[in-house]
């Protein structure tokens, strides 16, 4: 299981990488492993508001749907439409496949460092 330390993490298993005023968001290796083969991603729209702790979309596997919980609050400035045609990228390269970008993110206080997130995942069992 990978936990790159060039980014922060949420307890709902998303990663957040800051690029200037923008938060780039994806799901962690732990998340993609738990989800199994991703077959479809329901993305939000550009301009949508997201709120920390609330669902902004979902990820479908063959037999289940899992909400994607926003790790920050803000406005969606971009979504990764490549995922619509290649949802398997989330499994193959979770840290290279961003899902959405949020500009001027707020409510970032609860984000965890890579080390803290790894410890959190270990405790989840």
């Amino acid at each position: 299981m990978l936990y790159p330390d060039d980014r922060m993490y949420s307890k709902s298993h998303e990663w957040v990488k800051t690029e200037g005023e923008t938060a780039v968001i994806g799901i962690s290796d732990y998340a993609q492993d738990a989800l199994g083969d991703v077959v479809f991603v329901n993305l939000p729209g550009e301009g949508d508001e997201v709120a920390m702790g609330e669902a902004f979309g979902d990820v479908e596997s063959v037999k289940a749907v899992s909400d994607l919980i926003s790790p920050v609050s803000g406005t969606v400035s971009a979504v990764n439409e490549e995922l619509l045609d290649a949802p398997e990228n989330l499994n193959k390269d979770p840290y290279g496949s961003w899902i959405l970008k949020v500009e001027n993110p707020t409510d970032t206080e609860e984000l965890l460092s890579a080390a803290d997130y790894e410890a959190f995942c270990a405790s989840e069992g």
Partner: protein
């Protein structure tokens, strides 16, 4: 008493005892005494097969099955080829469950895949589902597909079938969404009224083609107005007419739905019928209900499987857009079979003949004094005539074993002629109407 329990009473006692029980009451020991029925139901005794046959046949004998049916209005007396009645009665198809276990159900899954393909061909759409209950619920499900966070208003043509409008109204009531009915002018959707009602909150507009009165709507023009307002265009179509009529896709529709009953299903006093739903690829993941997809198995063989299940209720639960579980699978198989037997030529022929015979009857009726077409303009196989003394007309037709047009409005009759009606039958019907009106 009739029973399908194979075991003899002695065997049942043995099985009870093997469980350490001595009575049926003990088997139900979890049922509290105040609700356990220890007396018989207040119902008649059971019957042997011969007695049941007599009882049900006696009920059937109280029905009149008209030799000539000139009424449609959502249920159509099209010809059902013999093989189309026979194949769905095969026990494998008839008594199978939903094909969740793909390895054991390839025959069923393939038949649905074929049906889906044929619905796409008829409508010009990219994707079809495996069926919903009927044309009315299909219209309601289509309206639901079109809604999003910003656009919630559903518009429906007032020239659609009243049961379709009321069903859509019901589903809208359920989700708390608004439905507005677009007024009718001269038997068709009023395009000016539609333009006035379309706005930035409109999710979709539904038009029936041909409409409830049998008239062809100017679907393309209506569709353009809908798209200009940023809404989605839903067409409810008559599947036999699609043998010769412009496809909903070519009319600009985003979703095509309709009543599939004319495709090999009997009138059956209203059901089971068949709702077909087909849409453009961009709306694929919003389609409700089961869908069969093609894939391969572990040996690379072509295989069919229920797919995109993450849309459905058993996975999404309260987040599913529809609760539909069981559908009209056997009816869909029947429809696919009908379309296979008729083929493109046969279907076109059924459509052409229905239309020709309807126009022939309309001509014969309107030649009679006092009878006139209620609306002008092109129509398919249904039409409305205004005429006096319509109850007397229907009564006289009934006595001649003819089911006449459906009373609509104050003095209208909505007639329907399908390919099953011969010229002789049509001449007879017209003669009877003439006789009644001459009195």
């Amino acid at each position: 008493m009739g029973s399908y329990v194979p075991s003899a009473p002695a065997q049942r006692q043995e099985m009870l005892q093997a469980l350490g029980l001595s009575s049926w009451r003990e088997l139900y020991r979890d049922v509290p005494p105040d609700m356990y029925l220890d007396g018989p139901l207040h119902l008649p005794h059971g019957m042997s097969e011969l007695e049941v046959n007599r009882a049900m046949s006696a009920m059937a004998a109280k029905n009149r099955v008209y030799a000539t049916v000139l009424r449609g209005a959502g249920a159509y007396d099209d010809y059902i080829p013999a093989i189309v009645k026979y194949i769905p009665a095969k026990e494998e198809f008839l008594t199978a469950y939903t094909p969740y276990q793909a390895e054991m159900s390839q025959g069923l899954l393939q038949s649905i895949f074929e049906y889906q393909t044929m619905i796409c061909e008829l409508t010009g759409m990219d994707v079809s589902n495996a069926s919903v209950y009927d044309g009315a619920s299909a219209a309601a499900e289509a309206a639901a597909m079109c809604r999003d966070r910003k656009r919630r208003l559903t518009l429906i043509s007032g020239a659609a079938h009243p049961d379709v409008i009321n069903t859509v109204r019901t589903y809208c009531y359920g989700t708390g969404d608004e439905l507005r009915v677009v007024p009718v002018k001269d038997g068709r959707t009023d395009p000016e009224a539609l333009a006035a009602m379309l706005d930035g909150e409109t999710a979709s507009f539904y038009v029936q083609q041909p409409n409830f009165y049998g008239l062809w709507e100017d679907a393309e023009a209506l569709g353009r107005a809908v798209h200009e307002a940023g809404a989605l265009f839903v067409m409810g179509c008559h599947p036999i007419s699609l043998g010769i009529a412009k496809t909903p896709a070519d009319c600009g529709a985003d979703i095509a739905v309709g009543e599939g009953q004319p495709l090999g299903l009997p009138l059956g006093d209203g059901g089971p019928y068949l709702g077909f739903m087909a849409c453009r690829e961009k709306l694929m993941r919003k389609l409700p209900g089961r869908i069969v997809g093609e894939t391969t198995d572990d040996a690379g063989r072509r295989a069919y499987v229920l797919s995109l299940q993450a849309r459905e209720q058993h996975i999404r639960r309260e987040k599913a857009s529809s609760n539909i579980c069981s559908n009209e699978a056997l009816c869909a198989l029947t429809a696919g079979l009908y379309l296979t037997v008729m083929g493109p030529e046969g279907l076109a022929e059924a459509a052409r003949q229905s239309m020709a015979k309807a126009h022939y009857l309309a001509g014969a009726l309107c030649a009679l004094p006092g009878v006139e077409m209620a609306y002008g303009g092109p129509y398919f196989h249904e039409f409305v005539t205004r005429l006096p003394r319509r109850e007397d007309v229907l009564c006289a037709l009934g006595q001649a074993d003819i089911l006449g047009g459906l009373p609509v409005g104050e003095d209208g009759l909505l007639w329907c002629v399908t390919e099953t009606v011969s010229k002789a039958q049509l001449d007879r019907a017209a003669a009877i109407v003439k006789e009644v009106l001459a009195k």
